[in-house]
């Protein structure tokens, strides 16, 4: 094998690693507090916490005196902006500093009884928790809870006072539907779990929370329905999540890249959705959902290829129409992958493919074009991709301008100037539109592969194109997502599951859950659900 293909010398790599780790350690702050516990002295505790949260200007310290006993000093610590200020003043400070007196008028609460009394009768907060670990306290403060410290006690009370400005639940931006629920996930994990729980109010819906990211401490929830899901799958998902040791999880995409089966594949083997109804449907088929705080996109695994060509609406519209629409979507997927390559192959290798009149018409258009057809298509495709990217990145008010420039300048002017054949513009435009008919994540893969196929097709015509498609086919056949073959249920074929690939069976005929996903609990519903007018209904 050629020398440059070998990996670099192992020694060199090691050396540089050591250097990095040394320099990293010296600049890192002291982390010894992570193991420490509180001391009974309030001032010591406060000082320590202040030292840990040094230069965190958004952390607030409020010291006050307990209403029933002036000896007892209290301190409340919280992060401004992450907490519900009204709740803090009403239910903690006001309650403890003033109103406790009403609960037990005239009584003097001794220092020894104070903790118990405050927990039982003083605090009006719903969620409280007691701890003495500094690590937990710091975590609580930074997550939006408020921490109450008491002089004389080596323990703290954590109050659930989270409340921050968050985006309201709005319509899904990435997965719009005509019919179906209009809500979408938001950036707050709690809201998202609530959206799921609202759809599946069953004790079997389990939502387990992890913290991932050494610096960001992001909350990640794993949701599944016990009894439907394959327990091995849950264990696998958890173990893959626990493997993750990174500093930050900012979006579910981070998780996706770290848990997927085939990191080198252009095809996504983890699905994501921002629609709670879709996520709920996935859970009900036996999949596992991974919710990440800070992003409205929820991951679902295992993922099948066909999912990307399905839409939530498919199950809300009537099945005949849905099937027809799916045919269009599958056809579009095919088009968006192969049409430009086919066009190149037909025009520059196999003119015998086209009917005579069509060929003559294309030939006439191309007569003045100075480029080979491959260059022409390549440039137009790149232009289209540029326009598309610009359309996304541009501030919204400018979007209009891009489309005008794109349509007029590139399309019309190029054809008029004789730089591009009109047929090429049609091909590229149709391909572009076709790639928008199905899920964005899959269409990215298709778009990338389209260019590869174009190259192959320009080099070897239909033979190159088919070779490319065969390679893609073999690749797709070898993919698995969490143990489930990516192309199933089509390949390997599982008969009953073909009810929901291109053809969408009527709901009353979908008796079973996907066989390879929900392994244990196959039965979805009763079998005789086909509706009929009363007189034709079979008796008995």
């Amino acid at each position: 094998m050629v020398r440059f293909l070998k990996p670099r010398k192992p020694g060199m790599v090691k050396q540089s690693n050591q250097q990095v780790s040394q320099s990293r350690e010296s600049s890192l702050p002291d982390t010894s507090w992570k193991e420490q516990v509180l001391s009974p002295d309030l001032d010591t505790n406060l000082a320590q916490i202040k030292a840990i949260l040094d230069r965190c200007s958004d952390v607030m310290y409020r010291e006050f005196i307990f209403a029933q006993n002036e000896q007892i000093r209290l301190a409340l610590i919280y992060t401004d902006g992450l907490t519900d200020k009204e709740q803090i003043s009403e239910q903690i400070t006001k309650a403890l500093a003033l109103e406790v007196a009403m609960a037990a008028p005239g009584q003097e609460i001794s220092k020894s009884r104070a903790l118990e009394f405050i927990k039982q009768r003083g605090l009006c907060v719903n969620e409280i928790k007691q701890t003495d670990k500094i690590r937990e306290i710091i975590q609580a403060i930074l997550s939006g809870d408020s921490v109450l410290l008491m002089d004389g006690y080596a323990t703290a009370i954590i109050n659930g006072t989270r409340g921050w400005a968050s985006r309201a639940i709005s319509e899904p931006e990435a997965e719009p539907t005509v019919r179906g629920a209009r809500d979408s996930f938001v950036e707050t994990l709690r809201t998202n779990t609530a959206l799921l729980r609202r759809r599946i109010s069953s004790p079997n819906l389990k939502i387990e929370v992890f913290k991932l990211g050494e610096v960001t401490n992001t909350e990640v929830a794993v949701a599944y329905i016990e009894g439907i899901v394959n327990e091995k799958l849950v264990a696998e998902v958890k173990s893959r999540l626990q493997r993750i040791k990174v500093d930050a999880i900012l979006e579910s995409g981070y998780i996706e890249e770290l848990i997927e089966d085939h990191p080198w594949s252009p095809f996504p083997t983890v699905n994501h959705t921002e629609k709670p109804d879709r996520a709920a449907a996935m859970l009900l088929e036996g999949r596992v959902a991974i919710l990440v705080d800070g992003t409205p996109f929820v991951l679902t695994v295992p993922n099948l290829f066909v999912e990307h060509l399905h839409a939530a609406e498919d199950y809300y519209e009537r099945f005949i129409f849905t099937t027809a629409v799916r045919v269009i979507r599958f056809f579009s997927a095919f088009i968006s992958l192969t049409l430009p390559a086919l066009y190149i192959a037909a025009v520059s290798f196999h003119p015998e493919l086209l009917p005579t009149t069509l060929l003559l018409s294309i030939a006439g258009q191309r007569e003045a074009v100075p480029f080979p057809v491959f260059m022409e298509v390549l440039v137009m495709e790149l232009t289209f991709e540029t326009l598309r990217e610009a359309g996304i990145r541009l501030p919204r008010p400018l979007g209009q301008a891009v489309s005008i420039v794109g349509a007029l300048v590139i399309g019309e002017a190029a054809v008029r100037a004789g730089l591009v054949a009109a047929a090429t513009v049609i091909v590229v435009a149709f391909t572009g539109i076709a790639s928008f008919t199905f899920a964005y994540s899959a269409s990215i893969a298709f778009r990338l592969l389209r260019f590869t196929l174009m190259f192959l097709s320009a080099a070897m015509g239909l033979f190159g194109l088919i070779t490319g498609v065969a390679l893609i086919g073999i690749h797709l056949c070898s993919l698995r997502s969490f143990g489930v073959p990516y192309l199933s249920p089509a390949v390997p074929m599982t008969g009953t599951d073909l009810k929901d690939v291109v053809f969408r069976a009527p709901l009353w005929a979908m008796f079973t859950r996907p066989r390879l996903i929900a392994r244990q609990n196959q039965e979805r519903q009763e079998q005789n659900l086909k509706p009929a007018p009363p007189e034709t209904r079979p008796r008995g």
Binding site: P355, M460, G461, F463, G464, G473, L476, S478, P492
Partner: protein, 365 residues
């Protein structure tokens, strides 16, 4: 075990169809029609019968030795050294047969699709694709086949239906114009194609339900027979026996004839493109057989290291063939005794007889 994957019966049927059909449909009609004229379809029926017999022979033999491939039980039946010899012969046949298929494939593409391209390009690319599939294992190979073969079969049927406009049943008459000898002679070549099903003996251990092997083989042979029958009927009904016998790839010419409403025409490039998937699968299966049996012969734990060397040998063997005339001549004259006589019927029959005589094998012993 060299192979961890398991394939189900449906996939096995499709694999066997790919094993026989893609090249059979290409050149067999012309060779058969040359012998039996318009009675070629009778030859195909005879050949299908022969294919069924070979299928029964192979599956019967394999089921006596559950979990073992042809090479493994050949050693068990004949003893170590003769068994090894037989194994070596089979490895040679898998390689040589595959090289011939590669030649056929490349010369067809060359004369039908890309006239100016050197054949070596086809060899290399097809081998690379097949190698990738083989490297990914039997499961992936059979899934790939399951993904694309229905497309091939469906498209062929559609094209034949579209050609119905130009067919005339009278071209098939008179029946039995040739004597039985000619019909039998015409049956030999397609029978040798059907006989390629002997490779199934390498795959039976990897079936998830091995006891269904006879059913699988019979179904596959019947489907292949049906397709070949339809193909021959269509070809003769369009061109008549004289012209059909003179084409090299009559099926290809048939597809070129299709013209409906001045628009649905010129389908041959699309048909070739789709047919190519079948070619990939067929070469892949032979390739897999060669790689797997070489690994078994050498006693390796994994056949994957052999994929690249086998591929190189394959391309080299294929490049030995000088032109299509040589290839066609070999296929028409030397191939039947060589393949059918020796590897497809001869050795398996010998193995069965010896196994019975020596009382080897689990069932029926």
């Amino acid at each position: 075990m060299l192979e961890q994957g398991k394939i189900d019966s449906k996939q096995a049927i499709l694999l066997l169809i790919s094993l026989v059909l893609p090249t059979a449909i290409l050149t067999a009609p012309a060779i058969t029609v040359k012998q039996a004229a318009q009675d070629a379809w009778l030859s195909i029926i005879v050949a299908t019968m022969a294919g069924l017999l070979i299928a029964a022979l192979v599956t019967g033999l394999s089921l006596r030795f559950p979990g073992k491939t042809l090479l493994e039980y050949a050693e068990e039946i004949l003893g170590r050294l003769p068994g090894k010899m037989v194994g070596l012969l089979y490895i040679w046949w898998f390689l040589h047969g595959n090289a011939l298929i590669l030649d056929e494939y490349a010369s067809f593409l060359c004369s039908a699709l890309m006239p100016d391209t050197p054949v070596i390009v086809f060899f290399v690319f097809v081998t690379v694709v097949a190698a990738l599939a083989v490297y990914s294992g039997l499961e992936v190979l059979s899934r790939f086949n399951q993904l694309f073969l229905p497309l091939v079969l469906g498209l062929l049927l559609v094209v034949f239906l579209l050609a119905a406009k130009d067919m005339e049943v009278t071209r098939l008459l008179p029946v039995f114009d040739k004597d039985a000898a000619a019909i039998l002679k015409g049956a030999v070549i397609p029978a040798s194609w059907f006989g390629e099903i002997v490779i199934f003996a390498l795959l039976i251990p990897f079936l998830d339900r091995a006891e269904e092997a006879p059913r699988v083989a019979v179904t596959a042979i019947l489907i292949c027979g049906l397709y070949l029958l339809i193909c021959i009927l269509v070809v003769v009904m369009i061109f008549g026996p004289h012209v059909s016998a003179r084409w090299i790839f009559p099926t290809f010419n048939t597809i070129r004839v299709v013209s409906i409403a001045n628009f649905l025409e010129r389908l041959e490039s699309i048909a070739i493109a789709v047919w190519m998937f079948g070619g990939f699968a067929k070469i892949g299966i032979f390739y897999y057989a060669a790689a797997l049996s070489s690994a078994q012969w050498l006693g390796l734990k994994d056949y994957r290291p052999l994929v690249a060397p086998v591929g190189v040998v394959l391309v080299a063997l294929a490049a030995l063939c000088r032109n299509i005339v040589e290839l066609l001549n070999f296929l028409a004259t030397a191939w039947p005794p060589y393949a059918l006589g020796l590897f497809e019927a001869g050795i398996p029959l010998l193995l069965l007889v010896v196994a019975r005589a020596r009382g080897k094998g689990g069932r029926g012993a």
